[in-house]
């Protein structure tokens, strides 16, 4: 009999939760995890603490490599999937290798989003999602005195306040569209400004960036519509996240903002599943899709995906009560716990 070959793209919490379940359910199957990040699975939410030197790099690591060896899970790190042929069960890796699967889980997560209007100077923005991003910034931190944070999504709040604590001059340009997946209601906005200001962040409201100049790629000047010129050494893009699905666009997968999956996390291809930050999950209760964001959510969905790939029929479950609707998408917020204080 041919064994299953489960391939999981991603090495975040979704992917790892799914791999655990798959190994429990199917001790003999081949399991391969592929991620374009080089690092072992790490606590993303501790990156701000790492940045400030409060957490060591090794404390970020969730599991050692032996964990995978013992479970005979093959980890392909630093390897990017650049194309898929889902009707032939084939993935194409950037280093020019084809990888086949019998069942596939897309646990791609999200990536920081930079709105179109900033297109011409987008390379001057930095993003903060991965350990590599954090390492780079940490190595530069000594020479950074002023920081401009553009957008203001959920991640940015902690990022901004943490940096302000270090005595650096942190300026936050709130952009309403950035608050995705939450709607920046008047109440939330006021609450944000109040708490940020109290923690030493300068909030610049009702203005927007129109350009970023730089003489030496170390020092920047952010120009705003209102005519402000903000000198700084770091411009962070925090306009919210988008599912990381660009390479899937012509794959035949149904994709909206994220990969559309049914309540069993199955895509429109029978052998392909998606879960975590990259998926838009159908909720039969509300007859609509919702986007999952956040660690606990991702972990739960990862387990559900694992069960279903191994032949189960679990439901992703109700979108939590405090789901909000943003741009026609149901977003859940209840998960956003302060992990960082651990």
């Amino acid at each position: 009999m041919m064994h299953e070959h489960y391939v999981i793209v991603g090495n975040g919490v979704t992917a790892n939760a799914a791999a655990d379940v798959l190994r429990e359910r199917d001790p003999n199957a081949r399991i391969t995890m592929i991620s374009d990040e080089f690092h072992l699975f790490y606590h993303r939410f501790r990156l701000p603490a790492f940045l400030l030197g409060e957490a060591s790099e090794s404390s970020l690591c969730v599991r050692p490599v032996s964990y995978y060896r013992e479970r005979n899970i093959r980890l392909r790190l630093g390897q990017e999937v650049v194309r898929v042929e889902l009707d032939r069960n084939l993935l194409y890796l950037k280093h020019m290798e084809k990888v086949g699967y019998t069942r596939l889980l897309l646990a791609l997560g999200g990536k920081p989003h930079i709105p179109e209007v900033h297109y011409t100077y987008r390379h001057r923005f930095s993003t903060f999602k991965t350990l590599d991003d954090a390492r780079l910034l940490r190595s530069r931190l000594g020479s950074i005195r002023s920081i401009v944070i553009a957008g203001g999504d959920l991640v940015s709040m902690r990022f901004a306040t943490s940096l302000a604590k270090t005595g650096r001059n942190v300026m936050m340009m709130l952009a309403s569209e950035a608050f995705w997946p939450l709607d920046l209601t008047e109440t939330i906005r006021e609450e944000c400004i109040r708490s940020l200001t109290a923690k030493g962040v300068d909030v610049i409201d009702s203005d927007r960036i129109v350009g970023i100049d730089s003489a030496d790629e170390q020092n920047f000047e952010v120009r705003t519509a209102a005519g402000l010129i903000l000198p700084c050494q770091y411009v962070g893009a925090f306009f919210g996240w988008r599912p990381q699905v660009d390479f899937l666009v012509r794959s035949g997968l149904d994709i909206d903002r994220g990969i559309l999956v049914d309540e069993h996390l199955r895509t429109n291809f029978d052998s392909v599943f998606a879960a975590g930050d990259c998926a838009q999950v159908y909720n039969p209760g509300i007859r609509n899709y919702w986007v999952s964001i956040g660690w606990p959510n991702a972990e739960r969905l990862g387990r559900v995906a694992g069960e279903n790939m191994a032949g189960g029929a679990l439901e992703a479950g109700q979108a939590p009560q405090s789901a909000l609707e943003v741009e026609g998408i149901q977003a859940c917020t209840s998960w956003w716990r302060e992990h960082g204080s651990e």
Binding site: H3, R30, T32, N72, R74
Partner: protein
């Protein structure tokens, strides 16, 4: 555990081309004489052609593989027994014939086929050839004569032409080459045939005759070493040089055979064959006489 996928043990890479080739060959029946190991010779090596000829002859003669013993010395040619189905003895350099003779003497029912390179047979083992011939021991000795030392990467051999540049003769080979055919004839072999690996289909009758001969049969096959000889025995140079031995040649006439051997032309076929008592025949007589006394 799925070991094949762990990086410590990379999966073997199976060359699709080879397996398809094998399928075709399977049908011809000659694979019955091939072992599981694929030959490790360089692609294009003449030894593949020789192997083809030998296996074809064996399968036509329907010799059971358990009666076969392939004995070899050291060299690329020496690898031969590993690729054949039958008993095999990969001995040491140059000692092919003494060991093959011992096998045959000890168990005359076995069909012994000794093979080796020109270095193995005419240099280090050269001293053994006349004596195996004198004994007329009933085995076939196939010399894979590529005019070079293959396994040790291209040094001169006893059949390398004078003047040829090799790894050990960077200023040209100072020695004159042997004429192996003349050598075999003048030592008095009871059978001698020659062939060319570039004409594998012509090898069938040659090997059939050699394997059917009672007594010592010497088969000298000229064969290209594509890796270490680009000037002497090459497919290009030899393409049109080979002729069949003329039908008019009286095969039991040693003088006529010597004329062919000295002609400087390249002939393939049975050059000499004579029915003579073998080692076993002679010992049978000796033993009979001894009992009488």
């Amino acid at each position: 555990m799925n070991q094949a996928n762990t990086p410590d043990q990379p999966k073997p890479i199976i060359h699709a081309g080879v397996s398809r080739f094998l399928e075709d060959v399977q049908k011809s029946g000659i694979l019955n004489y091939r072992s599981e190991s694929l030959p490790t010779w360089c692609p294009g090596c003449g030894y593949y052609g020789i192997t083809h000829g030998i296996t074809q002859a064996l399968s036509e003669l329907e010799i059971p593989s358990h009666e076969l013993v392939f004995v070899s010395g050291i060299g690329c040619a020496g690898r031969y027994p590993f690729f054949m189905k039958g008993y095999g003895f990969h001995t040491i350099h140059g000692r092919t014939l003494p060991i093959a003779s011992g096998i045959k003497m000890a168990n005359p029912r076995l069909r012994v086929i000794a093979v080796g390179g020109d270095g193995d047979g005419f240099a280090i083992g050269g001293g053994h050839l006349p004596h195996a011939i004198r004994r007329n021991i009933d085995l076939t000795y196939v010399v894979f004569d590529n005019g070079i030392y293959g396994l040790t990467k291209g040094q001169a051999s006893p059949t390398t032409p004078q003047g040829q540049i090799t790894a050990t003769t960077p200023y040209g080979n100072p020695e004159q080459p042997l004429n192996p055919t003349m050598l075999g004839l003048s030592y008095g072999t009871s059978f001698l045939a020659t062939g060319y690996a570039g004409l594998p289909h012509e090898l069938l009758p040659i090997f059939k005759a050699a394997f059917s001969h009672r007594g010592f049969s010497l088969v000298i096959i000229t064969t290209p070493c594509v890796t270490f000889d680009s000037v002497n025995i090459t497919y290009d140079r030899f393409r049109h040089l080979w002729h069949p031995i003329p039908a008019s040649h009286p095969v039991s006439d040693i003088r006529s055979a010597m004329m062919l051997a000295m002609s400087g032309e390249h002939y393939y076929g049975v050059m000499f064959s004579e029915d003579r008592p073998t080692w076993d025949d002679r010992w049978e007589t000796i033993q009979r006489n001894a009992r009488k006394k």
